[in-house]
């Protein structure tokens, strides 16, 4: 019997995969990005459907509970993405500065 959380999560994951595919169609996401995000949501769904499945991997890493393992991994991924985003943002800022400066000087 599925719990309410499982139903809601699966529906959300389906919605997320649909929007990933749509973004790919609009070319605002590369093929690698699409693959990563689809695998991510499929993997997350598997974990939500069969929580015991991560238990085995968690033990191997010396972590008692499967849920803890998932949370640790999720945090690591989130912080890494945050870092990447910030670097990207700084690069954008530098590019923007260059464009605005060149235009100001080009008179």
């Amino acid at each position: 019997m599925l719990s309410v959380f499982q139903v809601v999560f699966i529906l959300f994951a389906l919605f997320a995969i649909v929007s990933v595919v749509n973004k790919r169609r609009e070319s605002s996401l590369g093929p690698k990005g699409m693959l990563f995000w689809i695998l991510f949501w499929v993997g997350a769904s598997i974990v939500v459907m069969w929580p015991e499945s991560v238990q085995i991997i968690a033990r191997r890493f010396g972590i008692g509970r499967g849920v803890d393992f998932v949370i640790y991994i999720a945090l690591v991924i989130i912080f890494f993405i945050l870092f990447r985003l910030h670097v990207k943002f700084e690069e954008l800022k530098r590019d923007l500065t260059k464009v605005v400066r060149d235009k100001a000087l080009d008179k």
């Binding site: 910030h86 670097v87 530098r94 923007l96 500065t97 605005v100 400066r101 235009k103 100001a104 000087l105």
Partner: protein, 219 residues
């Protein structure tokens, strides 16, 4: 050639008189209009300044660096940083340049602490300014008494070495750090600062520290 760089953001009331006061002391005045929404550009042009206009607001550091790029292109011998809000007194320029030349220094930093002319608010003098000095120490800057004073004169060597990447207010610390990094000879010089508004608040200080930290991580 001695070029004054005046970064300006919405300073239509004061920019005209600031530009006029500068012409007695420098060869050329460059106003970098950082996407003002008022008539700053028009007023500056009316006062015969060369106006470089940012179409998007980038910050004071970015405006100074745009002025630097222009000055390098013009092969300037000296550049002056001067605020657009009538804080500074143009009469300080000639003695400052003389001292820079006499001492063979590469860069001169204006300071409000060398004499009693400036009417600095108490909180700023006794809390914010000392905190600023600690921040500069942590970020590897040369120690000056008045780190966030916008009055500076750079010679050709300093102009070539100092390339500002901190777009917003953290550029003041960045300039001091670059001075140390490139072993530029620096001196301080007393300048008068008249406070019209309070200027930078404590929140601004936190933003500077944040920008500096990110600058260290992302570079």
């Amino acid at each position: 050639m001695f070029i004054a760089i005046v970064p300006a953001h919405n300073e239509e009331k004061t920019i005209g008189s600031v530009v006029q006061s500068l012409f007695e002391h420098v060869d050329s005045v460059v106003v970098v209009d950082d996407a003002s929404s008022d008539a700053t550009s028009r007023e500056a042009e009316h006062a015969q300044a060369i106006v470089l206009r940012h179409e998007i607001n980038l910050g004071q550091g970015a405006a100074l660096e745009t002025g630097h790029t222009y000055a390098r292109g013009m092969n300037a011998d000296y550049v002056l940083h001067f605020d657009a809000d009538e804080q500074f007194d143009a009469a300080d320029i000639d003695p400052a340049l003389e001292k820079l030349q006499a001492q063979g220094a590469d860069i001169l930093f204006g300071s409000r602490f060398f004499d009693k002319r400036s009417n600095m608010p108490w909180f700023k003098r006794h809390v914010l300014a000392p905190l600023g000095r600690i921040v500069n120490l942590l970020f590897g800057a040369v120690q000056v008494t008045d780190a966030h004073n916008g009055f500076r004169i750079l010679n050709k060597k300093a102009l070539d070495k100092i390339r500002i990447t901190q777009n917003r207010m953290a550029h003041a610390t960045e300039i001091l750090a670059l001075t140390k990094k490139y072993h530029l000879n620096y001196i301080e010089f007393p300048v008068q600062v008249t406070y019209h508004e309070y200027g930078q608040r404590a929140v601004g200080g936190f933003k500077i520290v944040r920008d500096l930290l990110w600058g260290k991580i992302v570079k």
